[in-house]
């Protein structure tokens, strides 16, 4: 089951090849604060230059969803348009819900009979042995892991879906992502395989660039404990992204690139 999920999300990488470099992948909820006991949130999801402005590629693969108790939840009405996908989440229990898009793929190249070959798109770690032929030399591999998580809360915020798994680049929220307001700094920690991501670069971009002249983005560096403190001058939807690199923990001699993305709704206090 897990393996299928990984394979399927790896396809997302293949479907939007340039996305991870040139374009920013985002999922934007219509709201993150629900006060009714039986609420719905609708999402837009796409990749584009300006975050939350759909003008390039839709998200092609349905994300996963998790209820406040950690159980898997259902994404409703997933549909893909020309520029963006939409889907809904039915918040049938109080607490914090998570929508997650995970990708785990392998890219790279090798030399065979004097020719350079690239790994086919959609390659996953488990398919690797069958893909690289015997006699290949100069094998260069890169494991690419992406984690895009968006949280929405019905009633009071809860923590079960925020718990990190200890795998890859993850958020360890000191400030609950659904409890961010202007005038109060938010503190977010990051870990790689459960260890503090000291010195990690974190980018925070405010949506709506189209309606102002400045970009409005903050580049922050995590401290020794892997934490960043973020101030939000203006309310709005913010896109937070961090990336880390290193050596693959599971594929021998492979480099590793990890990214973490979330969307924060910042309300005016």
């Amino acid at each position: 089951m897990l393996r299928t999920a990984i394979a399927v999300t790896a396809l997302a990488l293949a479907a939007v090849p340039a996305t991870l470099q040139a374009h920013r992948l985002w999922m934007m909820p219509s709201t993150t604060v629900i006060s009714s006991a039986d609420g719905w949130v609708t999402f837009d999801a796409a990749a584009s230059n300006d975050v939350f402005h759909a003008d390039h590629q839709p998200l092609r693969v349905e994300p996963a969803a998790f209820a406040p108790d950690g159980s898997e939840a259902k994404i409703e009405n997933f549909a893909t348009g020309r520029f963006r996908s939409t889907f809904d989440l039915h918040l049938t229990q109080p607490g914090t819900w998570k929508v997650a898009m995970l990708s785990d793929g392998v890219g790279g190249s090798y030399q065979l009979a004097g020719e350079e070959k690239r790994l086919p798109r959609g390659t996953t770690a488990d398919k690797l042995p069958g893909i690289i032929p015997a006699g290949a030399t100069d094998v260069k591999l890169m494991q690419i892991e992406g984690r895009n998580e968006v949280f929405v809360t019905s009633g009071a915020p809860t923590d079960a879906v925020l718990r990190p798994t200890g795998k890859g680049l993850e958020l360890v929220a000191e400030t609950h992502p659904n409890d961010v307001v202007t005038g109060e700094d938010a503190v977010f920690g990051f870990t790689v395989d459960g260890k503090p991501a000291a010195g990690l670069e974190v980018l925070v971009v405010r949506g709506g660039k189209r309606y102002r002249d400045t970009v409005d983005e903050q580049t922050l560096k995590a401290d020794a404990a892997g934490k960043v403190r973020v101030s939000f001058a203006e309310p709005g939807m913010y896109w937070l992204n961090a990336s880390a690199s290193g050596q693959s923990a599971t594929i021998p001699n492979a480099a590793r690139r990890m990214s973490y993305t979330t969307t924060l709704e910042v309300l005016g206090a």
Partner: protein, 168 residues
């Protein structure tokens, strides 16, 4: 049990000396301005008490509490400062706290605040209107007040003058 009861009884007069009154009633006067707008809906209004280090306490929340299936709760989150401070941990309707929305004009609301420890407090009033704006007015006050003292503040858009006085 007996001892505790006696302690409480004898403790009361002492407490009464330290803080002039015990069970307090706050008298809140607030104005909902009449607004000339294309579509007017009565605002949702929350009144709550804040003190650093103490959980915020909701005194009143006015909303469409009598809609079928509790549908009025859908927009409680629009009263967003209150929702974050206190509302999101409550169940609705809330006894003695929930009320119907009110028309523009002056309103006098009497709300029991219970016992208050001496210190600095803030009475917060927030109004949020469907297809309209939102405003929070905060009235800082110190407890216990001087006799006859009232505390006042004013909003500029969704709320008008706000005054706070206490009675026993």
């Amino acid at each position: 049990m007996q001892v505790r009861h006696q302690l409480l009884l004898t403790g009361l007069p002492m407490l009464a000396v330290a803080t002039p009154a015990i069970a307090q009633t706050a008298q809140v006067q607030l104005t909902l301005p009449r607004l000339k707008v294309a579509e007017y809906n009565r605002p949702y209004v929350a009144i709550w008490l804040e003190k650093p280090g103490m959980p915020a306490r909701t005194l009143q929340i006015w909303y469409d509490f009598d809609m079928a299936k509790n549908e009025g709760t859908k927009w409680l989150g629009d009263v967003r400062s209150w929702w974050r401070a206190s509302g999101r941990t409550m169940r609705f309707p809330a006894d003695g706290v929930t009320g119907a929305t009110r028309a523009p004009g002056k309103h006098m609301v009497r709300v029991p605040t219970g016992q208050l420890a001496p210190g600095q407090y803030v009475l917060a009033i927030e109004a949020a209107r469907e297809v309209g704006g939102r405003e929070v007015v905060r009235v800082p006050f110190s407890w216990p007040p001087k006799p006859g003292q009232t505390f006042a503040a004013s909003g500029t858009s969704e709320l008008g003058a706000v005054a706070l006085a206490f009675t026993r």
